[in-house]
């Protein structure tokens, strides 16, 4: 092709067309209003995004319910809607305890619909040496304002992925996300069936029994079975929730297994679930941190923390996570899940060595390449230099 001969509408018209854009452009800009554009926050999309993922929420405790001496439920009430969520998600709370600044996460027990009415419920179980749970149980009173972040978490029902029948295995206070799911099913906000296998030591330790019984009796999509490990009582299954119990109560057809509970339950199920020969996609565990790495004598280390260009040196122990050292020293990082999953606390390990428990390294490929860590699941193995911001 002879390049010189190419034209769209003839050489003259093409040239005029090109020249035209000078005037077109002038008119285009000049005919617009000289007012400020719409604020980003005022677009409907951005409003919804902010509503579901607020930077933080100030929650006022409206009511406290005691579950004998095992646990307490805290109810929060707000004049306006609280951040909407999916049943199964958790809230992360921020605490200042002494010099420490810490965050802890609790699954939301209330239904998603109640958040739109300005209500949340969480349940805190009494445990031995629970630094934060003790603080809550002793200090949180009606009328207190506490700080929570937006709901997070991935143990939620998705009909595109999960079977329409959910077999939920709950241990102890691991019941709360499934209470939320049961309520959501009952309110018509989730369209799945729920077979809840709820493991406790004794019948005294069952939380929310009357509500669960009522949901189970009145809604054909919900079936609750209590499994007691430490007592033999009539009307209850005896033992631990394992493959046999699951097989006995699982509905016909395909089902997904959701698990939430203490570490002992996870360990037991790891050996039990393979017996069911289910594909990995049908088994979902709420992520869990195995905690202290070993019984070895802890070694003291120091961490040099770089925050907005300012360095400080803090103490750390090989038996506690890097995040824990930050928390003790009152150094705030945006931690949420405490299990390595969410990645909020991602920081740069400038130098030093850390141990990450097997199966808890949920970092991105490039983060491993460039030595970024999730401090919530890293234990120091030397003095460290960490850039948090």
């Amino acid at each position: 092709m002879s390049k010189k001969k190419f034209s769209v509408n003839g050489n003259l018209k093409d040239s005029l067309n090109t020249v035209k854009f000078l005037t077109e452009r002038k008119h285009f800009i000049n005919s617009a209003a000289a007012a400020l554009p719409t604020r980003t926050d005022d677009f409907g999309v951005n409003r919804v995004a902010k509503s579901i993922h607020p930077k933080e929420q100030k929650l006022v405790i409206s009511r406290i319910e005691e579950h004998s001496d095992i646990a307490k439920s805290y109810f929060f009430k707000s004049e306006t809607a609280l951040a909407y969520f999916k049943a199964g998600q958790y809230l992360t709370f921020r605490f200042e305890i002494g010099n420490a600044v810490v965050t802890r996460s609790y699954s939301i027990a209330s239904s998603p619909a109640s958040a739109l009415n300005g209500e949340y419920q969480i349940t805190v179980k009494r445990i031995n040496d629970g630094f934060v749970s003790d603080y809550i149980l002793h200090n949180w009173t009606v009328g207190n304002e506490v700080t929570a972040y937006a709901p997070e978490g991935n143990m939620t029902y998705c009909p595109l992925r999960d079977a329409e029948n959910i077999v939920a295995v709950a241990g102890g206070s691991g019941i709360t996300p499934f209470l939320s799911l049961a309520r959501a099913i009952d309110q018509g906000d989730e369209d799945c069936t729920l077979t809840l296998l709820y493991g406790c030591r004794t019948s005294d330790e069952i939380l929310f029994k009357s509500e669960l019984d009522s949901l189970s009796a009145n809604n054909s999509k919900i079936n609750v079975v209590y499994v007691l490990s430490h007592s033999d009582e009539e009307g209850y299954e005896k033992g631990f929730v394992g493959a046999d119990i699951i097989k006995k109560y699982a509905p016909e057809g395909n089902y997904s297994i959701f698990v939430c509970g203490p570490g002992g339950l996870y360990k037991y199920l790891e050996s039990e679930l393979p017996k069911l020969q289910k594909e990995k996609k049908y088994i979902r565990f709420e992520v869990f941190s195995s905690g202290k790495k070993s019984d070895e004598e802890p070694t003291e280390y120091s961490i040099t923390v770089i925050n907005r260009g300012v360095e400080s040196v803090i103490k750390a122990s090989s038996s506690e996570t890097v995040l824990c050292a930050f928390e003790r020293a009152g150094i705030e990082v945006p931690a949420r899940c405490h299990t390595g999953e969410c990645g909020f606390c991602r920081s740069k390990l400038v130098s030093g060595k850390v141990y990450i428990p097997e199966g808890e390294d949920r970092r991105r490929i490039a983060d491993m390449q460039f030595n970024f860590i999730h401090p919530c699941c890293c234990y120091p193995e030397s003095d460290l230099v960490v850039r948090i911001n």
Partner: protein, 514 residues
Amino acid sequence: MVKNYDAVVIGAGNGGLVASARLAKEGKKTLLIERHNLPGGFATSFVRGRFEFEASLHELCGIGSITGKSPLQKIFQEVGAADKIEWIALDEAYRLITLDKNEKCDYSMPLGKDAFIAKLEEYDPGSAPVVTKIFDLIESIEKTLDFVSNIEDFKPSMIKEIFSEHTEFLKVANYSVDEVLKAFGTSQKTRDILNGYWCYLGQPTDELNAIHYFTMLHSYLIDGAVIPKGRSHQISTALLEAFTENGGEAWFNTSVKKIIIKNGSATGVILDDGTQINAKAVICNASPYNAYTKLIDENAVPDKLKKEVNAKTLGAKGFAVFLGLNRSAEELGLDNHTYFIYPTNDNRKCYELSKKIETNDVQATVCLNKAFDDCSPEGTSILYMTSIFAGDEWSKVSVKDYYKTKLAFAEKMINNFEKATGISIRDYIEEIEISTPMTYARYTDAPAGTIYGYEASKEDGIVKRIVFDMIDKGIPGLYFAGGYTTRHMGYSPSYTTGDMAAKAAILAMEKEAK
């Protein structure tokens, strides 16, 4: 607290990262501020179960795997990031399928000029001569752009050279893709296939500027495309590492509250904790919407800039479904890397239909395993589907309807994919994540969840922007980088404008020093 820097960069998106890396490389004391805990903005990744998903990148052009023409690689090398990124070259352009059964459209196109022309000839016998001419035009336009962008010292004689040597460029500068392709006497089928990439720019080809589209065809089809092995997060982190290695400081989880304007010039920023940062240059990787309505006092924004924002239309809003599948690509029959699935080849109609959630059926889907199989564990695969919305329909979705609406649209995309390809994926979904315009708004503060900056409309096509819109927007000391500037949205354009902003700032600093 008051701190002094040569330059402060607002936002660690693609534009902000390159600008920062360039400034640090040139010895400027630079502070990069990012409100999230991660660099990258849209250019990031996330882990679900045993899968790491790419958040937004389909293919990167500007790293010419075929011709070696790599303007981006040049930037990455110069700022010290290139050797930190592992590129994987792609050999496939796209497979184009339409849902309209009457069209019987299913074309698989390769990258590489000769391969592309040969394949098109197979689908549309007799097309090769005219398509070759079109590629000649595309290459001639590229030469003009190279000539213009390599001008370092402008001489009046160059204008003469442009008018005598670069006539093709001048002829088509204000025409649409369709106008030019029709002038070549192309068949409808040839145009359908050549226009496959339209969704990457989000504008129908009856108004999309020809030079804009042809430049993109050049960088993909002729030069070749790549992806980074560590997802786009690898590019973002590599740029950040290069920046800090060269003495730059990056503060994450930190927000800018105000851009300080003194006597009409930008002189620094105020941070969320009240810290004042003084700087000779402020590079803004935030959108002009945020800059003018949040960061700068209204009376300090010149009318010209307000008019500019109001004249333009926000570009496409994004939606994506990320799937971790528990079967390999081979087992499922996923043979292609990039699938363009449209309701029809009439891209004007696609665009109009994409204004409503109920009628939008546009999707661009990537199977990452076709680029490199070890991107996911053995026996699994990763598929991610992206759609674009014209208009602002998602702003009508309430909080209460949000989860249902996003689930329903994701399901439609999966169904459309299965229908178009005949491949079953629904039963193999082990992990799923869905992002909506709200997700993009959440993570990038994009107005209305826009992923394409301003629309590349007839009035605001790329040539007009390059000629009329300046990196320096009219507030001395303030430079914009990223998707709302002269090169439209996208990885390659944002990296490029980031570099341009840094260079403009450096030039101004040097002038000031003299």
